[in-house]
């Protein structure tokens, strides 16, 4: 992700060419490729493998990685690579769903706080402080204790924890937009407050949201796999990364690959989301 500085670049024609080439960030391209492959795996896993992720084969239980099974097999002889490919769907869908919940509720609260009256601002800020006081994992655990395990509840449970971040940013952005010239201009046309808020404040407050969402996707995916790992998400025999890692714990001595590869996939997607998000963030900050 980082480049090591080379001496005397940019002094010659060739040097300038090298500088231009170096400014091109391989890490960002790589991150895009990882996310792209994960998306393909989530939408159309059959394109990447024709092995059935649920096909058990007791004769090949815990087989080491080989030409036939690139990532080895698990205790039931299921192909690990196929399971990882099919597992992308759960992680991405739950992660994206959770971010969507955070963005929607966070934007609503942040906009109401930033553009609304002062008492509303105060109330919402205090409410967000309270939400922050519940540590993320526990908030999700309490929510699932009340509503029961399963993917939809997982999405909401994880989404709740992400609300404060979005709400705070949107609020700050809305406060800036509210004092801007174009909003004052709109006010001189005697437009009603809610229309100014929706037509002028909201679009201008949304700027950093895609960046935050990309960065948040990583932590949402980690959170979702963590809860699945605890057995609170999709149930066996579903191919889900957290669940696969949870199964691997009992066979780490004989089949360490079952505990490594799903985690590699998980980490690669999270790093890719982070790298892309940070790249956008840098570009956004340079423009503003």
């Amino acid at each position: 992700m980082t480049t090591v500085a080379l001496p005397a670049a940019g002094s010659t024609r060739l040097g300038r060419l090298i500088v231009t080439a170096r400014r091109f960030r391989w890490s960002v391209l790589l991150a895009g490729v990882v996310i792209g492959v994960a998306l393909v795996a989530a939408v159309w896993p059959g394109l990447l493998t024709d092995v059935d992720p649920l096909q058990a084969n007791p004769l090949e239980s815990n087989a080491a990685p080989s030409a036939q099974h690139l990532a080895g097999t698990d205790i039931q002889g299921r192909d690990l690579l196929a399971r990882i490919i099919y597992g992308a769907r759960y992680s991405l869908v739950i992660g994206l769903g959770a971010v969507l919940v955070s963005v929607t509720l966070g934007t609503l609260l942040g906009l109401a706080a930033g553009a609304g009256p002062r008492w509303l601002d105060q109330t919402i800020c205090r409410a967000i402080d309270i939400l922050c006081a519940f540590p993320g994992v526990l908030l999700a655990l309490v929510f699932i204790a009340f509503t029961g395990p399963g993917a939809p509840n997982l999405v909401v449970a994880l989404g709740l924890g992400g609300i404060p971040g979005f709400a705070r940013v949107i609020r700050t952005q809305a406060l800036v937009a509210r004092t801007s010239d174009y909003v004052e201009q709109a006010a001189t046309y005697a437009l009603p407050g809610w229309r100014i808020t929706l037509r002028h404040v909201l679009p201008n407050a949304l700027g950093p949201v895609p960046i935050l969402a990309t960065l948040g996707l990583g932590s949402a995916i980690v959170g979702s796999s963590g809860l699945s790992f605890l057995g609170l998400g999709p149930q066996p025999p579903t191919a889900e990364w957290g669940l696969m890692l949870s199964d691997s714990r009992n066979y780490l001595r004989v089949a360490p690959w079952t505990g490594v590869f799903p985690g590699v996939a998980l980490t690669a997607v999270v790093i890719a989301a982070t790298v892309l998000g940070r790249h956008w963030q840098r570009r956004y900050e340079r423009r503003h």
Partner: protein, 341 residues
């Protein structure tokens, strides 16, 4: 520049703004300090009260019969039903129930876990010990890692910084439970250095604590390093160099001190979140503790137990972050001058 909350360092963006404020008059900062400390304590009490209220509302907002919700699988036991109704005051109006609840929780009466047939406070007190050991070991290790990595990477050794950057992004992105699994596979099964079974001994604490400390430590290092970089750009760094202090001396005696302030706030947040973070770590290493009873409680829908654990963790979080904020206020006069009470 618009305020962009960075995903991995929520506290520092705000704090940086506060720290950057120019120091105002210090003469009256004594009285102002008391006022700020008082305000911060009041805020902590308020959040605590709100957290208790939220759990009360959550229990009562659930559809269906509250007694059955609290009793779980024992909902048909008439004796337990009567006891629960009496304890929660469920035969009284809602405001009376709330007052009963508000009086009960701070006195340590968190109800009874019906899945384990034991008072919740007792259960938590028992499980707290191993969790606290793990959290404390993890926190100490994280602070050591943070300071060592930050100090090493702000020097002029090439390659250290990119190496640390790569490690940072890996440790901060990898799911903690996967990190724990990999540590287990490598150091316990492959190399056989640490036994997985004896969770009581100090050796059994090494891997779980490392699993907690590595991400936290590198996170802390990131914040500290940004702080050191910022401090080194300040005029006083140049002055110190001009006085003949070595580059390492400037970093150690001046920059590190300045950078420690945001780190204190962050350490408070980390410490507060440790109890929650220990949940997953304990599951991987099959250690007894709060995490294990929390997961078990969610599985069997033991509402009093899970709410008790949530309240205790919230209390720990508030206590830790308040302590850190107060420490920062006392250590740095600029915060007193710049902060708006």
């Amino acid at each position: 520049m618009p305020q962009l909350a960075h995903w991995s360092r929520p506290a520092t963006a705000e704090l940086a703004g506060v720290v950057a404020d120019p120091p105002a008059r210090h003469r009256r900062s004594g009285r102002r300090l008391y006022r700020l400390v008082g305000a911060r304590l009041a805020q902590a009490v308020f959040v605590l009260w709100a957290a208790i209220t939220v759990t009360f509302v959550a229990v009562h907002a659930m559809p269906g019969d509250t007694v059955s919700l609290l009793l779980g699988e024992n909902r048909d036991d008439p004796v337990l039903r009567a006891a629960t109704i009496a304890r929660w005051g469920l035969d009284q109006p809602a405001w009376a129930q709330y007052l009963i609840y508000l009086r009960r929780i701070p006195s340590g009466d968190l109800g009874t876990s019906y899945s384990l047939r034991q008072p919740v406070a007792e259960l938590i007190a028992q499980s707290m010990v191993p969790t606290f050991q793990l959290a404390a070991a993890g926190l100490v290790a994280a602070v050591v890692i943070g300071f060592v990595v930050a100090y090493a990477t702000t020097g002029r050794l090439p390659l250290l910084r990119p190496a640390a950057n790569t490690l940072e992004i890996v440790f901060l992105s990898a799911p903690p439970f996967w990190l724990a699994i990999v540590l287990l596979a490598v150091f316990s099964f492959k190399l056989g250095w640490f036994s997985v079974i004896d969770y009581r001994s100090a050796a059994g604490l090494v891997l779980p604590a490392a699993a907690i400390a590595l991400p936290m430590g590198f996170y802390l290092a990131q914040v500290l390093r940004d702080g050191i970089d910022r401090a080194l750009e300040q005029p006083f760094a140049l002055t110190a160099r001009a006085r003949g202090l070595s580059w390492a001396g400037v970093r150690r005696r001046h920059a590190l001190r300045h950078a420690s302030l945001p780190a204190i706030t962050l350490i408070g947040l980390i410490a507060g979140g440790l109890l929650g973070g220990a949940v997953i770590c304990e599951t991987v290493f099959a250690r007894p503790g709060l995490g294990q009873i929390a997961v078990a409680a969610v599985m069997v829908k033991d509402i009093p137990l899970i709410l008790g654990i949530a309240l205790v963790s919230t209390f720990a979080y508030i206590a830790a972050s308040t302590t850190a904020d107060l420490a920062a206020l006392i250590l740095d006069p600029r915060l007193r001058a710049g902060a708006k009470a």
